[in-house]
Amino acid sequence: MTLTFEDFPPGHFGRFGPRRVTREEMLAFASEFDPQPMHLDEEAAKGSMLQGLSASGWHLCSIMMRMMVDGFIGRAASLGSPGVNELRWLAPLRPEDEITLDVDVAEARVSRSRPDTGIVTFKGVVRNAAGQALCEMVSPIIVQRRGGAAAEQAG
């Protein structure tokens, strides 16, 4: 069943993962999008503020997106997102760590400009296997309301 606006009341929505992030995929992402020594070079990373090799923050964001798509956005009548209100990188993601994503609905309201849709503002927190918060994000997503055109289309 396709999830619509009505399926996202404020409160805890779900926990997703765990997802292991390998050294190989960390280095591949950093090589392509964020080739700073702290994300690529073990020795240089030791001397950095993060004191060891860490994933690019944009890699962590992209993995969080994938976990959200697999977890619920992929079966929601989502029309996309206008942006991210705030994102905080709190601690480094290390090679081979296993991350878990907690998603809360912070706010859900009907769109004024497109009344057949609603704006669901999610708060996501990524934690590592030790339970340490690595990243927090607050971001709205536009979701079709029940009976809306996109919900029918997605079936």
Partner: protein, 169 residues
């Protein structure tokens, strides 16, 4: 890379441009954001985006890529002048990220970065904290992407500077 003391509010860097081909859009989306409008031309046309659209995280990651490339360019220019070069620190995050218009297959986005605020780190006296507005503009001159990014920037001589007033936007 530049030191904190070399940076002024309002300084703007053109970071270069990047063309989001259908192939690159689908490759990123397959890995990180497999929603139908990021994977298939026809699904993209039927969506609010009106065409095969890049994942917003792809656009943000490319902006990061060009920021790093620009930093490397600045560093090599500084080295060529015989100046000392330092690595910037990590970023504690960003605010106000806006995907203003879709980035569609074939679009070429020019990125820029403009310094909005500078302050000293209270917890880490050897570092300054910079906020910069990073933007992306398409080939028609339309603003498509904007975010307010934060980064730690090393100070040139933390011990020697004791009376510097933190400035804000």
């Amino acid at each position: 890379m530049r030191f904190f003391e070399d940076i002024e509010i309002g300084q703007r860097r053109e970071l270069g441009s990047f063309t989001f081909t259908a192939e690159l859009i689908k490759k990123f989306a397959t890995q990180f954001d497999p929603q139908r409008f990021h994977l298939d031309e026809e699904e993209g046309r039927k969506s609010l985006f009106g065409g095969l659209a890049a994942s917003g995280w792809h656009v943000g990651s490319v902006c990061m890529k060009l920021l790093v490339t620009d930093g490397q360019r600045l560093a090599s220019e500084a080295l060529a002048r015989g100046e000392k070069v330092v690595a910037w620190g990590p970023s504690p995050g960003f605010r106000e990220l806006r995907w203003i218009k879709p980035v569609l297959a074939g679009d070429t986005i020019s990125f820029a970065s403009e310094v909005e605020s500078l302050r000293l780190s209270e917890k880490r006296p050897e570092w300054g904290i910079l906020e910069a507005r990073n933007t992306g503009t398409n080939q028609r001159g339309e603003l498509v992407f904007s975010l307010l990014a934060t980064a730690f920037v090393p100070r040139r001589n933390p011990e020697g500077i004791t009376h510097m007033e933190p400035s804000s936007r």
